[in-house]
Structure formats: C-alpha cells, structure tokens
Subunit: 113 residues, 2 copies
C-alpha cells in the first residue's frame, strides 16, 4: 500500500514538468537514445540526465546500455497507476452525481403523485 | 497551448503528494468544510491550507465562503486534463504496438508463402 502510494508520488511529480512530459511524448512514439532525446531541449546534459533519472525512479522510463549508447524506452504499463487512480476518483465522483440525479427524480415523482 | 501546459504542470505536481490526493479522494465523495478536510491530517492548519491552495491553483478544487465557514468541492471536470494527456500518450504507444504486430504478421505471411 505504502509502496503503491510512494510510486504515485514519484509518478505524478515526474509528470508535473514540461521537459519530462515531452520526453514521454517522444518515447510513446518509440525508443530513443539519450542524445536523440536531449536534442530538442536547450539544456546542459547533466540537467537533462536529472530529468531522465526522475522518470526512471517513477517507473515511467526504462533504459539499457548498448556499447557506449544508452537507449531509453517507455516502461511497460507506464501510465497505468496514474490512470487507475484518476479513473477511481472519477467513478466515485460520477457515482455520487448519479445518486443525486436519482434523488431528484424520486423527489419529482413524489411531488407529482 | 502554454496555458494548457502550465495547467498540466500545476495539476500533476498537485497530484504528486499523498495529503493532496487524500483531500481529493475525500472531495470525490462530496463537498466538505476546511475543518472536516483537515481533521484526519496531523498537520498545523497553515501547512494544510498550503495544500488546499495548490489544489485550487491547479483547478482541482473550488471553495466558497458561507458565513465563517469555507466549503470545498471538487472542481468540475477536475481530472479531465490529466486523464486526457495520459490517454493520448497511451493511444500513441498502443498504436505503435499494433503497427508492430501488423509488421510481424506480414513478415510471417511472407515467410509462409
């Protein structure tokens, strides 16, 4: 449970930055080397690597070395924990609205009797 | 576009904290006063108010005053921007996997000819 929650902390915090979202948007289209990923960003490589580290710590990105090249890819089911949490809250919220609708309908039916 | 992106920054960053997610989980069940929301959290009120401010800045929570009481509720469509972004990346990612499946299928068919 606490592991699940701390992963959500890392995951949502990682998503809260435009550079990191751009990296994920690029990786959704297929794997890429670190230099390919860094290229569109006007940023020193160490700062860029910090962003990648946060994405890896949040289980959003995986990387492997091939010779001297590091290749990054979207982690399997990267977005599932975040999507699940959001959908769960939405369902509770919408269920509440549905119950409110039912309540109003019943009220109107009682009135029209 | 930049407004959309900066809202996603605030929204995902706001979601990256367990206290703030607990507030949202509570509000998905219905509106609540600030004291009701603060009660389960062992936290000084000013620190708690900082969390609420971040949720309001991210358009996740709305509040109004009734007399001396501040009442909070989930903002309409609070989770839509975050969900839309995640679904969009997922669709691109899955579209890519589907195309890869097609490629393998074609390859196998060519081989069996």
């Amino acid at each position: 449970m606490s592991k699940y929650y701390s992963n959500l902390d890392l995951c949502f915090s990682a998503l809260g930055d435009p550079t990191r979202r751009m990296i994920l948007q690029r990786l959704a289209r297929g794997e890429a080397t670190v230099s390919e990923l860094a290229e569109p960003h006007e940023m020193a490589l160490p700062s860029f690597m910090e962003h990648l580290k946060k994405l890896e710590a949040a289980n959003l990105v995986k990387s492997r070395k091939e010779g001297r090249t590091r290749i990054c890819q979207l982690a399997p089911d990267a977005f599932t924990p975040a999507k699940d949490w959001l959908n769960e809250q939405n369902e509770i919220w919408e269920g509440r609205l549905d119950r409110f609708d039912d309540y109003i309908k019943n009220l109107m039916q009682e009135r029209n009797k």
